[in-house]
Amino acid sequence: MKADNPKTGNPKTGNPKTGNPKTGNPQTDISDRPIIRLAWRVSQEHPFEFWIGFAGFLLFFSIPALSGYLTAQAFEALTGNDIGTLYFIAGALLLAELARLVAFSFGAVSLTKSWTYMRSLMQGNLLHAQLVSGGEDAGPPARSAGDALSRFRDDTNDIVAFIDLWLDAAGGFTFTLISVGIMFQINATATLVAVVPLMLGALVVLVMDGTIKQWRRDDRAATRAVAAMLGDVMAGATAVKVNDATEPVLGRFQHLVDTRRRTAVRDRTLNEAIFQLAFGATDVATALVLVVGAGAIASGEFAFADLVLFLAYLPWLSNFPRQLSRLITRHRQAIVSFEGMEELVAENDPDRVVRQIRLPVVRGRDRRIPFEFGYENTLAQPGDNDHELLVRPERTRVPLERLTVENLTVGYQSAAVNQTTSPIGAPVVSNVSFDVEAGAFVVITGRIGSGKSTLLRTLLGLANEVTVTGSIRWNGEEVVDHGAFFVPPQCAFVSQIPQLLSDSLADNILLGTDPGPDRSDEDLLPVGPPSHPAGGSAGMAPVAGSLATAVRAAAMTDDVAMMPDGLATVVGPRGLRLSGGQRQRVAAARALVQRPELLVVDDLSSALDVATEFELWENVADAGITVLAVSHRPKVLEKADLIVDLG
């Protein structure tokens, strides 16, 4: 993809625009999106690093005005054969240039830090929106992880690259102000003649604007298509093999990369041409100064030292329109990128991409790595209340007395609904009602497409793009935000195809909760009434049955015993080092360790044999946990207090 680091200084790309991002951008009106304001907020994520970097680059780009002046003075002395003055001026030039190098070093180091902060601000907000359990922050689920990944990687990069240009632009602007002032005093005509071609370059870019934006969009779409295909194929390599599909898959892939080549070449060539245009403008300007100033030069009115000054300034002046052009193109790209990122956050509100957050860290973790470069001070500390947004909220347990589902009807928002049993437009789940007391064992059954999963996912607040009528009541009180309410300790979920993370088994089960004392001899849920928290240390959510008991209850004990590192065994990417059944049992343990009031399970039958499953339900029942489970097993149905048959 793109270079990760937009800065690290390229002295010749530095360029102007106004230093203050709120003024002087003539293009803001093209979009109704307040890109500048959003980017400004991103840039102020770590103001100290940002402004140190800003100062560094301001000096780095404006010192050449002094150096150019000194050079002209040196040639003045040379013309007059004044070697003593020449030495003196050469010394001053050396100092000025050294100052420039120092300014660059400081600027580059603090900006590198700053860029990472900015990216993690946006990435943190996006990830938070994707993973938070309900509430106003929850964003619509990404269409595919591969697709969303390019938002995290490329779109954030574009924003940072855009902000990067501000600094260059500020420096270039300062330089332009000083140098044009000096040049104007020497020869007004030559100055104007030199500046015109430099400006023309920027104008061409303005004209090309719509094209730049469209081509960039096309390229992004093509890139995402390639990434999505690649992700699917890599995740399902075995499926490709056993379906003898290598050839057609490669054919499709070839087609996608060819499309992307065309969009990319178009996009890159245009950008390069714009870059070169502003660059070549220097040469044209130099030529024009020679042509227009020829008379003055011949007459000696335009002195040699003055010509040296012009020639020293012009390359740096060419930075101005070049950087201005790039600012415009990157502004366009930034709009596209924000449009992409806002799709992942709640209400498609771009402000939610740039909200100030602090990333959580749990101290004393074995996996925590030492922070050498000061990242630590941006992480939320225990007891840090200002930014508790992303820290695990302490949820109060609300003991379940009665769970009521009333006339629940779920339909897909679009009219073209297609479900096995539903005619077009009909709801997937219609008019489901039941009312159970705590400890009930409710089994949902029904054929393919009868809406079993949809029912559970609606209850949990996971269903997206659906219309829901009817209500779900917890102790008679209507639950409004399902996603936020149906989480531990109220509720835990075992999905049909559980996804694990490349962590240890224990981490996958605990997911950040305190494991509690390891009371492996006790029963699944050793404490009395479910409302009684089972311990847990200060600052953590009340916890849960112990790790070992949850593992045992989920019939994982034998599996764990066979693994080389027991519960510390790393399960591999997406948990793929475990078998499908093992992954499901891990997911069951993950839910049980929370000791939820309500356990929601979307079909465990492929993970457990009938006897083990039955035993699991016995354990859960003894503990007084209310269960809502999809199952087709007669033995399980028999045990049910209530069967919800969706047909």
């Binding site: 993809m1 830090k113 044209v284 990417p573 993970a607 149905l637």
Partner: protein, 625 residues
Amino acid sequence: MSSTPVADVGAPDQPEADQTTTRRDNPSQLQAQWSTLVALILPQKWAYFGLSIALTVLALLPLFGPVIIGEVVDRATAGAGAGDLVSLGVLYLSLALAGQAAAACVAWGSTTLAWRTANDLRVQMVEHVLGLDQEFHRNHPPGALIQRIDGDVTSVSDFLGTVVTAVTSAVLILVGIVTILLFIDWRLALAMGGYIAVCGFIAFRFRRGMVNESEGVLSARARLYGGIEERLNASEDLRANGAGPHAMTRFSEDTSFFMDTRMREEGAFIRLWWGLNLGIVICMVASLILGGLMVSAGAITLGTAFILFQYTQQIRRPLDTIVERYETAQKAVSALNRVSKLRAERPTILDLGTTSPPPGPLAVQLDGVSFNYYADEPVLQDITFSLGAGRSLGVVGRSGSGKTTLSRLILRLLETDSGTLALGGVPIADIPMDELRQRVALIPQEVQLYDGSLRDNVTMFGSDAPDEVLERTLTDIGLGHLLDGDGLHRSIFDSDLGLSAGESQLLALARVWVRSPDLVVLDEATARIDPRSEKIVQDTINDLLASRTSIVIAHRLSTLSQVDDIAVFDQGRLVEFGPRKELADRNGGRYAAMLELARADLTDKIDQGDINLDQTPALEGTNEG
């Protein structure tokens, strides 16, 4: 496979990074990198040749600028007229415009070429990775592979497209400057040449450290984005279990790690940058003083002193370019390292066979077959049985009894450790892989869907099968309702489509159906389909299996009501094998006992009036993946 021990792989990419550090100077690795590059460039060699000619011209044009201006100064000093100077200005202008045009052409040509080259590499790598063993895929997250095949290859393509052209023209400018100085004064040329050599040396000295650091950054980035991808994939599980904060903690750890490596890389970069720029500054000041001394000594003209000074300015641009592009270049070198490494991965299951089994249904013969993932724990031990062509076999057994491993051996996703496995009388290793893949199909429990149309997902992107056949197949299999609207061209991730897990499994069935293989292995293929739907599907499955050899790993005994033979596995051994009807009646037999258990389950009364299980109930085996 629950008996498979799981090795600790550590954080993704971590071990890999360590390896590269220790193996950096291995000449065979350099060779591998080199051969990767050569393989890339060779097919396009004429295009690259043409591009380099255009580049040379482009690079040399700017060198004449200072010469013209020096001429202007000298002529003006000598008292030339304005007209004389104007024509020099016009010459300057035409060279500038020519350079512009050339630059645009080079930009277009180099980008096109680079993307063609990189795309070839991408396709090769996808093919290569698809040819690797299943073990490889179990150990490499898709996110990291995407980073290799797309991210790293893009680095290489950037390298070829922009870095190579920019650096080539930079080098040409440097050579040109020295050459022109040679005509003015050989001592100046020598000094400049020596100076450039020193800068080159500094760049070379710092290179090593830079590549190390930048490889660290690539690793950290793979960990960061691999982690994000994984968490996004698990977003439902994480949301519903309130684990968002936990995932955010991991993200912040990955980010911190990235920050650390990134800062180290920046430090290395700044050291290199200082080395070069300090040199330029000293050279510039020195040229000013040297020029002054030579002018006052009358050795050179004022114009020549100016040319000398301008050239010290002009070497700044190419040197900056080299350093600036250096970052992209080292990214590309590290990326090339990884790409070469991935390309060097070899499958252990080789495609060396040349013997075709007879056409039609394939007989399956196992003779003393054993297999284990790790040396100490055999997963399958001494399995011997023979399944006639066109017959169907039901495989039952508990979790970890080796059923899924058996299916993988028959698909040759795994290789037997000892014993022979023959299909149609031909040992499996002797059958060409292409033919094996065509004739043997697997319907797995977990179905992978692809971002594409319904059609793409059934044909796996193939274009041969006519629409009517596909539509009929989908209808037969009970997925006809998916064809509403855009029919086969609907996007599979269309939110209206909302495929359930069971429907996905039916889709997997359709995939195999349209291929018409000679041997079908169903690995708990109907496990996610509820009993009532399964009954509908079962007839379709029976049709599918009718004219072929089939092996059905059973989830429910009801699934096996039509099979000819039964194999019972227990802890990696075949404990019972024979015709189904015979085993069903065998006194004290394992299969008979299972049937008995299932029947008992059925006769358990179910009071709910709305439940009507009018079929043989399930005997629930455990899926061991």
